[in-house]
Amino acid sequence: MDIKDFIAPFAVWKRAFEKPFTVKKPIDDRPGAPRYRGFHINDADKCVGCGTCEAICMNKAIDMVPAPGHDAGPGDSGLRPRIDYGRCCWCALCVDICPSGSLGMSNEYVWIDSDPEVFRYTPGVEPKPWDGAELGYRRAEGYRLLDEHRVDMPELHHAEAVKSFLELVRGYSRQQAEKEADRCVSCGVCIASCPAHMDIPGYIKAVRDGELDTGLRLLYETNPFPEACGRICTHLCEEACSIGTGGDPVAIRWLKRYIADQVELSDYAKALPRAEAPTGRKVAVVGAGPGGLSAAYYLTLLGYKVTVFEKDGEAGGMLRYGIPEYRLPYPALDKDIGYIESLGVGIKRGVSIGKEITLAKLRADYDAVYLSTGLPTAYGLEVPGDKHPRVLDGVAVLAAATRGEELRLGERVAVIGGGNVAMDAARTALRHGAKVDILYRRREQDMPADAEEISEAKAEGARLVEKAIPLEVKDAAGAYAGKSAIFVWNDAVMVQKEPGKRPVPEPIPGAVREERYDSIIAAIGQGPDLSFVAESDGVPMKRFKPIVDADGKASTGTVAGAPVFAGGDLVNDRKDAISAIADGHRAAVGIDRLLGGKGA
C-alpha cells in the first residue's frame, strides 16, 4: 500500500466545482436525434393500406383498420395501420419495408396521458402533434428491405423485332420468375382491381414455391385464358400493385404467363378440376372470343352442354384476329382454347348468328343463350373522301394479317388513331416493311393505347404525329391516282375549354397539312354488330348495348324462349379481354343460378 492510495481518492472533490453533466429540464430540452425512432407518422394519402407493415411487425403491434376519408378503391384497401404502443418495440421494420414509403417515425418520444387507450392510434388519420415532423427515423438512402426493381424480361431488340412476327417477349426462366415472385408482398390490393378478381398473391406464391400445378389451378379458378392474359392482359393489377407505389410493380402478367408456359397442355387435366355430372341442359354461346369461351368453360365445369357459335374460321375472337402474333403467338392461344375444347365444348366455326341461324332459333333450341360478340365493326373516319379504296379499317387489316392474306399496304402507311388497334396496325405495317405515321387527334399522353405499345411502336420506327385532326381524304394525283390517297389534317392545339374536363384539340387556323400515303388505316374506334338481335328477342338495349343485370342477364323475361345473357366488350366499358373473361364467368354462374344448378 502506497501513500498515494490514501490521497488519490480525494481527487473526486475537484469535480464538485465543475458544471454537472445533468440538465435541469430533460424533457423539455432534449429533442430526439434526427434519426430517432419515435412515434410513427404516416402520409395517409400516400399509404395504400397494403398492410405489409402489419405483416412484418413481429409484435403484432399494427392492425389495419378502416380510416375515415380513405375509401377502398383501385390500388387502395381503404385501411391504414393503427399502432399499439403497448406492443410496439420501435424497431422500425415497418418503416423499412413500407412499399410506398409513407410510413416514418418522428423524433418525438415523450407522450404522457392518464388514459391508456390513447396509446393506440392511426398515424396520419388521427392528428398528433408530431404529424409531419421533419426529423425522425426514415429509411436511409439506398436501403430498402424490398426490391423496387423488376426482373428484366428478356425481349427481342426493336431492330430485330420489326423484321418478323416472332414473339417479342421471351418469358421468364424459372430463376427469374422466382426472383420476381419474391418481390410480391401478398397484400392482395391487386385482387380488387382485377376484373376477374384473380387470386394473384396465391399464384405468385405458387411460383415462389415452385408449385406450378397449384398455380395453374388458381389461374383457372377465375380465368381460363392464362396463356393469352399472361401476354396481352391490360394488367390493371400492376397499376394497383402496392410495390408499384415505390418502384416497379410486380410483373404479375409475366408470372401468370410463366405458370401457363411451364405446364404442358397434356398435364393440365391433372392439375385442373373435372366437370360435374351433366345437368342435361344446353347453353348456346354466341362468339368464341375470350368472354364466350370463358362462359363455355365454367358452364361445362358446372355440367352444362355448351355449343359456341363463331362467325370466323377460327376461335379466339379479338385475341386471334385483333392481336398480332408477335404479341400473342397462335400456339399460346391454341393451348388455352384447346384445353377448353378438350372438356367437350363444341365450337361451331364459320356460323354467323343472324345469317345461318337466328337468335330466335337459339332461344328456342337451348336453355340459355350467352351473347359475347364484342365490337367487330370498325367505325369510319367520317371525313369527306373516307370511302377512298386506300382507306382501310384497322380491325380488318389485323384480321387479314391473322388469316395470312397478302396485305398490300404499300410503302407509306398512315394509321389514324391512338388506341391499341392503331398501335397493332402500325406495328403490323412496320413488319411488312412500310414506313408508318401514326396520326392522333390529341397528345401522346392522352392516347388510350397501353403505354408500352406506344413506346414499342415508336421504338420500332413508327413516327407519331400528335394533335392531327383529320379533315379529308383526297385521291392522289397523276400516276398515283387510285393507288394512293392524300390524307389532309389540321394541326391543333390542346385547349382547356372547360375546367375539370379534359382539354380539347382546337384546330389552328390555316395549319392544314397533307401527306400522300399508299394506305390509310383508320382505327378510331369500334362498335358492336347487333343487327342479329330483333326487338322480338326481348333484349333491352341502350345506346347499342344490351342492358344487363348483376348476373349478366339481359332479357327481361317478357318474351317466350330461353333467357339471354350478355357480356364482354358488347356490354362493359373496359373493353379488354380480362373484363370479357370476368363477364363470361359471371354469366356462367348467373345462368347456372337461373337454371337451378348446384350454385342456385
Binding site: 498515494k4 430517432y36 421494420l93 423499412d96 408482398v185
Partner: protein, 387 residues
C-alpha cells in the same frame, strides 16, 4: 492476504454442512440485489460472516427468446435478439446477422464491416462504463458510477445519432447495417472519446489508487489459470489469469484483423486485476474506435440486398458464430431446416459459466460483504444466462 490464495474448502469438492447445528446460516442473496445485474440468486451458507458454500439459482429471467425465434421469420427476429442482453445488444445483433449471412452465403459490403466494428467497439465501451460504476459501487465507491454512467450516456447519445435508438440500436441487420453514418457523426465520436478518456484518467486515479478498493478487491475471487479451460472461462476473466485469448484476434472477424491492437493479459485473475484489465480494455476500445474512424471507407454500399424478408428462406444447415463481447465469448448457434424460420437458435452467453459455475466455487471463503463485489468483478449478466 496472498492474492492467489485459495479458499479453505477446495472449490472442486462438494462440502457438506450440518445446517441443524446452529453454526451455519442459510441466506439468499437475490434475486433482487443491486450487486447482480438482472435477476438471479445465490443461496449462501454462512459461517460467521464468511461464506462457506453457495448454490446459484437461475430461472427468474427466462423469457423464451430461443423458442420465440423458432416461430418468427428470420427478419422478425432481428429486432428481438438485441433484447437478450440489455447492456450489449449489438453483440446479439452481430452474431445473429453473421450466422444468417454465413448460412445464406451472403457477403456484406466493406462499409458495413467497418460500421459493425464501430458499433461493437462503441457498445463495448458503453458496457464497461456501466460495469465500472457497478464494480466501484459494490465496494462502496458510489462516485465512480455517477461519472461512468454519464459517460455511458454520451456513448448512447452517439448510438441514438447513428441508429435512432439509445438502448436497442437494431442497427446491425442481416445483410449489413441500416444506414451510413450521419453527417458530422464521426466528429462527434472523436470528441466524445476525448471526453471519456479524460474521465477514465480520473477514474483510474481515484479507483485504482485507493486503499479501500485495493484492500477489498485484491485477492478476492482468484481464478487459477488451470480453471480457464476446465470451466470455459473467457474474456477478461481469462485474460486476467494470463491466458491471452481474444476472439477478435483468434477468429479475426469483421475489421479486427485490420486494426492495430494486442489482447491485454494479466497475471493473477483476482477482482482487482480483472477490473484493471477491463479499464485497460476501455482505453483500448477508445483507441480502436479512433482507428476505425480513420480507416473506415468514406462511402460505398452499407447493405447487401437480401430476398424479400417476408419469405426469406435460408438453406438448410447449421453454424456457430461467436464474437468477443465485454465478458468473453458470445455466440449464436443457428440451425436452419431450409424454411423461412430458424429451426433452432441457441445463444451462448459467457455469463453462464462465470455466474453459475465459477461464482459458486469462488465465493467459498469470501466475506459476505464482498459477495456482490465478487459477482460484479466476474462481469455477469443473468439475462444472457437464461435468454
Amino acid at each position: 492476504m496472498k492474492r492467489d490464495a485459495m479458499p479453505r474448502i477446495p472449490p472442486e469438492e462438494k462440502a457438506t454442512f450440518d445446517l441443524e447445528s446452529g453454526k451455519y446460516l442459510v441466506m439468499w442473496q437475490g434475486p433482487q440485489h443491486p450487486g447482480i445485474t438482472g435477476n438471479m440468486s445465490l443461496r449462501l451458507v454462512i459461517e460467521g460472516d464468511t461464506v462457506v458454500d453457495c448454490e446459484t439459482h437461475v430461472g427468474y429471467l427466462h423469457r423464451g427468446f430461443e423458442k420465440l425465434m423458432e416461430r418468427r421469420l428470420y427478419m422478425q427476429n432481428f429486432p428481438l435478439v438485441c433484447r437478450i442482453a440489455v447492456p450489449e445488444p449489438d453483440f446479439n445483433e452481430y452474431c445473429y446477422a453473421a450466422a444468417l449471412e454465413e448460412l445464406a452465403g451472403i457477403e456484406i459490403p466493406d462499409k458495413a464491416v467497418w460500421l459493425r466494428t464501430l458499433s461493437l467497439e462503441m457498445i463495448r465501451l458503453a458496457s464497461f462504463l456501466m460495469w465500472i460504476g457497478g464494480q466501484a459501487g459494490a465496494f462502496g465507491h458510489g462516485t465512480i458510477a455517477q461519472w461512468s454512467v454519464t459517460m455511458r450516456d454520451y456513448v448512447l447519445d452517439l448510438f441514438e445519432e447513428l441508429s435512432g435508438g439509445r438502448i436497442y440500436h437494431m442497427y446491425i441487420i442481416p445483410g449489413g447495417v441500416r444506414g451510413d453514418v450521419p453527417k458530422g457523426f464521426l466528429q462527434h465520436v472523436l470528441e466524445t472519446m476525448d471526453i471519456i478518456k479524460k474521465n477514465l484518467d480520473d477514474i483510474e486515479l481515484v479507483m485504482f489508487h485507493n486503499a479501500v478498493y485495493k484492500m477489498r478487491a485484491q485477492g478476492l475471487g482468484c481464478i487459477p489459470p488451470e480453471w480457464v479451460d476446465k470451466y470455459g472461462i473467457t474474456g477478461p476473466n481469462a485474460r486476467a489469469a494470463g491466458v491471452a485469448r481474444d476472439l477478435r484476434k483468434d477468429i479475426g472477424y469483421l475489421a479486427y484483423p485490420r486494426l492495430d491492437f494486442q489482447p491485454l493479459v494479466g497475471k493473477v485473475s483476482d477482482a482487482y486485476e480483472r477490473s484493471q484489465l477491463r479499464l485497460g480494455e476501455m482505453y483500448q476500445a477508445i483507441d480502436l474506435i479512433r482507428q476505425i474512424v480513420e480507416l473506415m471507407p468514406k462511402d460505398g454500399p452499407f447493405r447487401e440486398k437480401l430476398p424479400n424478408p417476408l419469405y426469406w428462406k435460408i438453406p438448410a444447415g447449421e453454424t456457430y458464430v461467436a464474437a468477443e463481447c465485454t465478458r468473453g465469448e458470445y455466440g449464436f448457434y443457428v440451425v436452419s431446416d431450409g424454411s423461412d424460420k430458424p429451426r433452432r437458435i441457441a445463444v451462448r452467453g459467457p455469463s453462464y459459466t462465470h455466474a453459475v459455475s465459477v461464482m459458486e466455487r469462488l465465493v467459498r471463503g469470501v466475506n459476505i460483504a464482498d459477495v456482490a463485489g465478487l459477482m460484479v468483478s466476474l462481469h455477469t449478466y443473468p439475462p444472457e444466462i437464461e435468454r
